[in-house]
């Protein structure tokens, strides 16, 4: 295995609704990330992008995103119809195979372009699930209900996750929800999709996240304290919702095991928990003790959820904790699909 590190991370400004096109959103973020790592376009030998055409309703919209990269002379690039975290995984594999040394990875989404609750339904099984239009909110509510009935999660735990996330968000200038809300007060709010309340669901955003990864040869030139990827794994649960226990995530547990999460203490965890109950389910599945690990210091995806950028943002935010010396060992996680169906887990270390 080659040593690979995240050496720079940038987010575009998250907004509730931008008038910019996706390409216009991406351009300044690419400029900024290159500047942050103090590299030129020509230093990047692999570009990888994560986005979802259903979000803007434009087939092959990801092709126009290449316009943002300045692809002349020609570049080596790829795209995943997934969150940018999956682009990170592809880039990591590309570097492991020796085909690339330095990769720029980005994810972007314009959630305001349509009703994401419906749009994401199109990612479900096209024969027996998607035609029923269950909606993502309802599916996540089913997952929360299953977890509550299994005794894995309580409504109070969910309220506590929201309360802490909103408080942490107050220190993050790039969020859409923040403030001081007592768990009791949160529990008094009405349910919007039983057992979920509005605050259990994410603050949808338009946004971009981007990072640069490189090998040991160059990491220290680009970053004083790189975040070394010591373990990474990707696992998938069945797409058939009826064959799964929606109150747990077997694939998150497997990915965490193979990434080596429990081999040592975890200082910080940035989990891609778009709904409050996800955090409790994920921590349990992955072997993370929420009482000793600092959970989502950025506020997490609950307080700003730019679809297709928010998962990569968890990797970036975990890396930032290493860059700043706040953590020696951090866990980054991203999920896709309904009810935590797909999971990528990585262990990042400062040394």
């Amino acid at each position: 295995m080659r040593d690979v590190a995240i050496v720079a991370y940038i987010e575009g400004q998250n907004t509730a609704a931008t008038s910019q096109t996706p390409v216009e959103m991406i351009v300044p973020v690419i400029h900024e990330i290159l500047k942050r790592a103090n590299v030129e376009r020509s230093d990047i030998d692999f570009w990888c992008h994560g986005s979802c055409d259903y979000m803007t309703g434009q087939p092959f919209s990801f092709v126009s995103a290449v316009d943002a990269l300045g692809a002349w002379p020609p570049i080596m690039e790829s795209h995943v119809e997934m969150d940018g975290a999956w682009a990170l995984y592809e880039a990591w594999v590309k570097i492991q195979t020796g085909e690339a040394e330095t990769a720029l990875v980005f994810g972007n989404g314009k959630s305001s372009a349509g009703d994401m609750n419906r749009a994401l339904t199109l990612q479900l099984d096209p024969y027996v699930v998607a035609p029923l239009w269950p909606g993502f909110r309802a599916l996540e509510a089913m997952g929360a209900r299953a977890a509550i009935e299994a005794g894995t999660v309580t409504e109070r735990q969910m309220a506590e996750v929201v309360s802490r996330s909103l408080r942490d968000a107050s220190d993050n200038p790039n969020v859409l929800a923040y403030g001081y809300r007592d768990p009791d007060e949160l529990l008094d709010e009405p349910m919007t999709a039983n057992p979920l309340r509005a605050h259990d669901c994410p603050a949808m955003a338009d946004g971009v996240s981007a990072m640069i990864m490189t090998t040991a040869d160059r990491a220290l030139e680009m970053c004083d304290r790189p975040a070394w990827i010591r373990g990474i794994d990707h696992r998938i649960d069945f797409q058939n919702l009826g064959l799964r226990d929606l109150g747990r995530s077997n694939s998150a547990a497997l990915a965490a095991f193979h990434a080596g999460v429990t081999k040592d203490k975890v200082d910080v965890a940035e989990l891609h928990a778009t709904h409050s109950h996800h955090e409790v389910i994920l921590a349990q599945s992955m072997g993370i003790d929420r009482s000793t690990t600092r959970m989502m210091p950025s506020g997490g995806a609950l307080v700003a959820n730019p679809l297709m950028a928010a998962g990569l943002a968890r990797f970036g935010q975990a890396a930032r904790q290493i860059f700043k010396g706040n953590a020696d060992r951090a866990v980054a996680h991203a999920a896709q699909g309904a009810c935590l169906q797909q999971n990528i887990v990585a262990v990042l270390e400062g040394n």
């Binding site: 008038s19 096109t21 390409v23 216009e24 316009d67 300045g70």
Partner: protein
């Protein structure tokens, strides 16, 4: 009875909000007023019409100054459509061409009318035929088609690097 259900119809439909983006506002407002406005790349100085998401794909930078182009242009390549297809609104044979507007660095697609398909050629000079002003919207459809402008053909060198 559930046993009687052999099939169901579940139409798929999602509404989207499309925004042109700040980089294309000038282009669309221009069309609304009968002007063809492109944008210049601040790095390579190429002029894009339309301004393609407001970005120069060659340089990866946001386009800058607005530049009026055309209205006349030169046919760089073309295609004679002889095949009937569902939804066809124009009588065949007709010509679809790539037109390099004067002052622009990328070609745009439009129809060629008011001449025989067999007379259309590379380098032919053309001019737009606009819809009635009362029907103008922020759309390139304000131009119904291009027709020969009866100028001498452009030299090959003029459009050689735009093919």
């Amino acid at each position: 009875m559930a046993d009687d259900i052999l099939r169901i119809r579940t139409p798929i439909g999602i509404d989207y909000t499309w925004s042109s983006g700040p980089g294309s506002v000038g282009y669309m407002r221009g069309l609304e007023n009968g002007k063809l406005l492109g944008r210049r790349c601040p790095v390579c100085e190429l002029v894009y019409f339309p301004p393609r998401n407001g970005v120069c794909p060659r340089c990866g930078v946001l386009l800058a100054d607005e530049v009026e182009v055309g209205p006349r242009g030169t046919i760089t390549t073309f295609c004679v459509v002889n095949v009937p297809f569902l939804g066809q609104t124009i009588k065949i044979p007709y010509v679809a061409a790539t037109i390099l507007l004067d002052g622009a660095d990328i070609g745009m697609q439009h129809l060629i009318q008011e001449c025989e398909a067999a007379d259309v050629r590379m380098g032919m000079r053309v001019e737009p035929v606009w819809r009635d002003k009362s029907l103008w919207t922020p759309s390139l459809e304000n131009i119904m088609y291009y027709k020969p402008s009866d100028e001498p053909d452009a030299d090959f060198d003029v459009y050689a690097r735009h093919l």
